[in-house]
């Protein structure tokens, strides 16, 4: 094939693909500024005739979207911090500390990955009901406080820390917690950032478990609130698009700002070993 033709074809296909990927998101943004009813017309309007913030006002004032937004922020941040702590400690232990049965225990954890999370959901609901945690933030947070994926990611990364460094610190008389806090943690910073983004995005986007455990509106996270709004307001496209913008925008911004870390983590997590 003629190289100029090939170049045009390849870039044309990429442009088309990018358009398909981005169009729904850009259109969502545009429709969210339209007057009620404006989007239900033929041909479908691409841009609002008279842009308005009315849909956002309606969502925050009457539909409780502000509450959902705060709930999502609180739940996702708490899960991120707590799971980071648990996963860092365990991942480092699996990579660098010696104890009997280390490899077997790690293999068992990796093996547990084949069990889909939904298998645990029904008894988990009963357990949390017994603990009085159904319909509370804690009910959403508690099962996400440690993840096999996170432990795996930290272990892969921490294996690169030279043993001599840790041994030298031990000979100097440093305790294990001090070694972890002053030597290991600073070295793990890149993977901490990666893992934090992963955990936050996963917690923010999670749907099935919060849907099950949150029974009252006052605790809804954004996806649950949006899904319940979508069932009530199926025809109010403009309102629903504004709700989608509020739900999606924070994660898109976070991703754009931290893209490099996110994609690195994605690749690190996909290498079996």
């Amino acid at each position: 094939m003629n190289p100029r033709l090939a170049k045009a074809l390849i870039n044309g296909l990429l442009l088309g693909g990018a358009a398909v990927a981005l169009f729904p998101l850009l259109w969502m943004l545009s429709v969210s500024f339209m007057q009620p009813g404006e989007a239900s017309a033929l041909p479908p309007p691409l841009l609002p005739a008279h842009a308005t913030l009315g849909n956002y006002r309606e969502l925050f004032v009457h539909a409780g979207m502000g509450r959902y937004l705060l709930n999502s922020l609180a739940v996702a941040s708490t899960i991120t911090v707590l799971s980071l702590a648990c996963n860092l400690l365990a991942g480092y232990a699996f990579a660098k500390l010696r104890f009997a049965g280390r490899e077997r225990l790690f293999q068992a954890l990796i093996g547990a990955l084949v069990i889909p999370a939904q298998v645990a959901m029904l008894p988990l609901f009963l357990l949390l009901k017994y603990l009085g945690l159904v319909n509370s933030y804690a009910g959403v947070i508690v099962p996400g406080m440690a993840t096999v994926f996170g432990i795996f990611l930290v272990r892969q990364y921490a294996r690169g820390i030279p043993d001599e460094l840790l041994e030298a610190a031990r000979i100097d008389g440093a305790g294990e917690w001090r070694i972890f806090g002053q030597i290991v943690l600073p070295l793990l910073k890149p993977i901490m950032v990666t893992l934090a983004i992963f955990s936050f995005l996963a917690a923010w986007n999670d749907f099935m478990w919060p849907l099950i455990v949150l029974t009252g509106q006052e605790h809804y996270t954004l996806p649950i609130g949006l899904a319940s709004l979508a069932r009530e307001h199926a025809q109010d496209s403009e309102l629903m698009m504004a709700g989608s913008v509020i739900t999606v925008l924070p994660v898109i911004v976070l991703f754009l700002a931290m893209q490099r870390y996110y994609l690195e983590g994605l690749l690190l997590g996909s290498v079996k070993g």
């Binding site: 094939m1 090939a6 390849i10 990429l14 442009l15 693909g17 990018a18 990927a21 729904p24 998101l25 969502m28 989007a39 239900s40 033929l42 479908p44 648990c86 400690l89 365990a90 232990a93 500390l97 010696r98 104890f99 009997a100 280390r102 547990a112 084949v114 069990i115 889909p116 939904q118 645990a120 959901m121 029904l122 008894p123 988990l124 609901f125 099962p143 096999v148 031990r170 294990e176 986007n205 749907f207 099935m208 996806p223 649950i224 949006l226 899904a227 069932r231 199926a234 629903m240 698009m241 709700g243 989608s244 739900t247 999606v248 994660v251 898109i252 754009l256 994605l266 690749l267 996909s270």
Partner: protein, 295 residues
């Protein structure tokens, strides 16, 4: 050497969480699936009876279970190849030395992955609206009659598949792209000197070099697609005529709408068994395909 006690101290928080909130519930689910745990047992635990494999037996005789399994298999069998094909195509385009503005295209194609399923499903419901949707508007310009995308039992699942592919293909694209970049360039150089066409280079260099990545990605994607739930929940509520009711949707309804937790646990375990069997089969086929070749 560290004292072993420290290691266990470091492990305790994570193992405690995973043990209490994952391992224990999984074992409990197995036990639960052998009981008739329902609304009455929820009110008073003394109403609980052990029913052995009755839940499983009853499920296997319910047409709804088979249709939910059928819809899920349809979603997996069509969605996974379509999604992986799109991912691989996009990765090949991005990896081409002729492509320009690569960082922009990579970000744009990946963007749907980070979005929230519920929010983008709401967008798609609007795009595929029968009356005012963009999809039918475009079709009408091509002279094709409008389709009732989400309201027609024949079209609802294909629409959900299109949505899932759009939402997910970027993830595997990144993994494939890394795989492609790891192929030594001199292999292509040698093939070009021998006069191999682009297709033959793809068939005899790219695909074999990507082999292990392809296997891993297909196993992960298949398990992911078996867990279809949020898309039909938001876009179709399992309808029309239950044509998008997936196995997990059935589990959710059975467990948290009708409170038949015993029967719902049996649904969950059957799904797990099916996923496990499919994964094992894929690994076995891949191993057989490698006979004679150094893996």
């Amino acid at each position: 050497m560290n004292p072993p006690r420290t290691a266990w101290l470091f492990l305790t928080p994570a193992l405690l969480v995973l043990g209490v909130f994952f391992l224990l519930p999984v074992i409990a689910a197995l036990v639960l699936s052998l009981t008739d745990y329902d609304l009455y047992a929820l009110a008073n635990i003394h109403n609980l009876r052990f029913v052995a494999l009755h839940n499983y037996w009853a499920l296997l005789q319910r047409p709804l279970f088979w249709s939910a399994l059928g819809h899920t298999v349809y979603f997996v069998a069509v969605g996974v190849p379509l999604s992986m094909g799109t991912s691989l195509g996009a990765a090949l385009l991005l990896n081409s030395p002729l492509a320009r503005c690569k960082p922009f295209f990579r970000t744009a194609l990946f963007a749907p992955v980070v979005t929230t399923v519920v929010a983008v499903a709401v967008i798609w419901r609007y795009l595929f609206n029968t009356k005012y949707g963009m999809a039918n508007f475009v079709l009408s310009h091509l002279g094709i009659h409008p389709l009732d995308w989400l309201g027609d039992p024949h079209w609802a699942m294909p629409t959900i598949i299109l949505f899932a592919v759009w939402k997910n293909f970027g993830y595997n694209m990144i993994i494939f792209l890394a795989g492609l970049q790891a192929v030594p360039p001199d292999l292509y150089e040698a093939a070009r000197i021998d006069g191999a066409s682009a297709w033959r280079q793809f068939r005899h260099i790219t695909l074999p070099m990507l082999g292990p990545t392809l296997l891993m990605v297909s196993i992960l994607t298949v398990s992911g697609y078996f867990q279809l739930f949020a898309e039909p929940y938001v876009m179709t509520e399992g309808g029309p005529l239950q044509s998008t009711t997936s196995v997990l949707y059935l589990m959710y309804d059975e467990g948290f709408k009708w409170w038949n937790l015993g029967s719902a646990s049996a649904v969950a375990f059957l799904l797990f068994l099916i996923m496990f069997a499919v994964t094992a089969l894929m690994l076995k086929l891949a191993r057989r395909g490698h006979d004679g070749e150094p893996a």
